[in-house]
């Protein structure tokens, strides 16, 4: 058996170990690679938020579950931090039952840090089943879809809801999602009610959603952990305390290893003559 054949027969568990080490070593040692320039779709969302006036209202949808947290939680922290820092009112909703606790966590932690008041500067309206019907319903009346907050307060009585009836009063909707819900927001809130929409998504979904940037149906897009790191960079956060930027060095080294493995695997495939045996 030649060296190339041995490489092609390599137990895949060695590759798992290699990837695990490539990820773990930068995290344990705190090794940090320099960040690249933020991608235009991330910059466009950042700039849109920068151009909003204090007191404007942004709706944030937490449509993801803990399985997507490593990618979407840093994005949500970065964007909500930006909104609260700029004194923009935040209404958060969740069309995923597991997303409501995550949204509550993001808002509670940032409110504590930035001294924002629940019910005045932001409110978490919680989970509502129904997907597209919920999105359509809020086009008519948000308080009719969410009469109460999850802790029992009447939504219409909250100061944060002053002057907010439906999408006409929402400057931007940001959907953090790990499924098909951005498409529902685009079709029902965007196309039917002309709501400006941006999305924070897992990297798996990125190629599906890029066409909507090009068509103008999305004003901005944050792509995975990389997008979170880019937004944190735009916010000028300390890299040691920004989860997105902290993870990107491990990401880059793991990618480098995968590229090497793909190249070596292809060389081994052709050098061993297997392509002739097919």
């Amino acid at each position: 058996m030649t060296l190339w054949d041995r490489l092609l027969e390599l137990d895949r568990r060695w590759i798992f170990l290699g990837i695990a080490l490539a990820v773990a070593i930068p995290i344990i040692t705190g090794y940090a690679l320099p960040q690249g320039r933020p991608a235009p779709p991330t910059v466009r969302l950042f700039q849109f938020v920068e151009d909003l006036e204090p007191g404007d209202v942004v709706m944030v949808a937490f449509d993801y579950s803990p399985s997507s947290m490593p990618e979407l939680h840093p994005q949500a922290y970065a964007v909500v931090r930006h909104l609260l820092q700029r004194e923009i009112r935040v209404l958060s909703v969740s069309l995923n039952p597991q997303g409501t606790a995550l949204g509550r966590e993001v808002l509670a932690e940032l409110a504590h840090e930035l001294d924002a008041e629940d019910g005045v500067d932001f409110v978490h309206l919680g989970f509502m089943p129904g997907g597209s019907q919920v999105i359509l319903g809020m086009g008519e009346s948000i308080t009719r879809v969410y009469p109460n907050t999850p802790d029992g307060r009447r939504t219409a009585d909250l100061p944060v809801m002053e002057g907010v009836r439906n999408y006409d009063d929402i400057a931007l909707l940001v959907d953090f999602a790990a499924g098909n819900l951005p498409f529902s927001w685009i079709a029902f809130a965007g196309e039917r009610y002309n709501q400006e929409i941006a999305a924070g998504i897992t990297a798996v979904m990125a190629t599906d959603l890029y066409p909507y940037l090009q068509s103008g149906q999305l004003i901005g897009l944050i792509n995975g952990l990389k997008g979170a790191a880019e937004y944190e960079l735009l916010l000028d956060l300390d890299p040691v305390e920004a989860p997105g930027m902290l993870g990107m060095s491990a990401q880059a080294i793991a990618h480098l290893l995968i590229i090497v493995l793909v190249i070596v695997g292809n060389i081994a495939y052709f050098a061993s003559g297997r392509h002739r045996r097919r």
């Binding site: 773990a24 490593p70 009469p147 079709a187 029902f188 090009q214 952990l225």
Partner: protein, 239 residues
């Protein structure tokens, strides 16, 4: 009624610490599958599925059924109503009919809510697919491809690539004629565009999966190993 506070300690140990150890154990249990399938992995997998389902039921009950069905019927003042709203009985009864699946003799009743949901979704989805996806995407493809006053040379090249990609890819999916001659050449170019799209998709998928691993490794090291294992161990050894 006295407020019931959640427990903060179990057998003298903080629930947060128990949570971190439990999460670390379950993460390692799931990772153990990378070596080979084993009962610990199966245990973690079943716990995950069960808790996800249970959590979904509890959240739906508290954040949807109570405010949208129970309160309007039995506690109208909490729903901001002066009198009970009996209209909510219609969706309530339709929802309850789904449970007829458990009684074989009456399981046909569950077809009504299913028919309602299917009809509603079809009505919502068909026009929205055309208005929300097809027409805007079609419109976004009708681009100038010649540089001039409106667009510079670089934008023209980008637009040309986009339009060529759409036309060639659509040609590849045209199966009513054999792919030979001009159609064969165009559809071959379409395959190249598809390959580029698959490559971009694969690259993003790799990035997503590595991100998930990074999240778990960050948790294992920063939230569990360092504060709960390494630091106490170092303190113990240091005196």
């Amino acid at each position: 009624m006295p407020e019931v506070l959640p427990a903060t300690e179990i057998f003298g140990v903080s629930v947060e610490i128990i949570g971190v150890w439990l999460a670390a154990f379950l993460t390692l249990a799931i990772f153990s599958f990378l070596y080979q399938d084993n009962p610990v992995y199966k245990l973690a997998e079943h716990i995950f599925v069960g808790i996800s389902a249970g959590y979904g039921v509890v959240i739906t009950w508290h954040e949807a059924v109570i405010p949208l069905l129970i309160n309007p019927l039995f506690r109208p003042e909490q729903a901001g109503l002066e009198a009970p709203n009996y209209v909510v009985l219609v969706p309530g009864v339709l929802g309850l009919l789904m449970f007829s699946r458990f009684v074989p003799r009456y399981d046909w009743l569950s077809r009504w809510p299913i028919a309602f949901v299917m009809g509603l979704y079809s009505g919502l989805t068909i026009p929205s697919s055309v208005q929300g996806f097809l027409l805007p995407q079609l419109h976004a493809t009708l681009l100038p491809i010649w540089p001039g006053v409106e667009i510079n040379a670089w934008t023209a090249v980008s637009n040309f690539l986009l339009v060529t990609g759409v036309v060639c890819t659509l040609a590849y999916f045209y199966f009513s004629r054999e792919h030979r001659g001009a159609l064969g050449a165009v559809s071959t170019v379409g395959i190249f565009f598809l390959m580029v799209a698959f490559g971009a998709g694969f690259g993003n998928t790799v990035m997503a999966r590595v991100s998930l691993l990074i999240g778990r490794v960050q948790f294992l090291y920063h939230d569990w190993w360092f504060p709960h294992v390494l630091e106490p161990l170092m303190q113990l050894l240091g005196g």
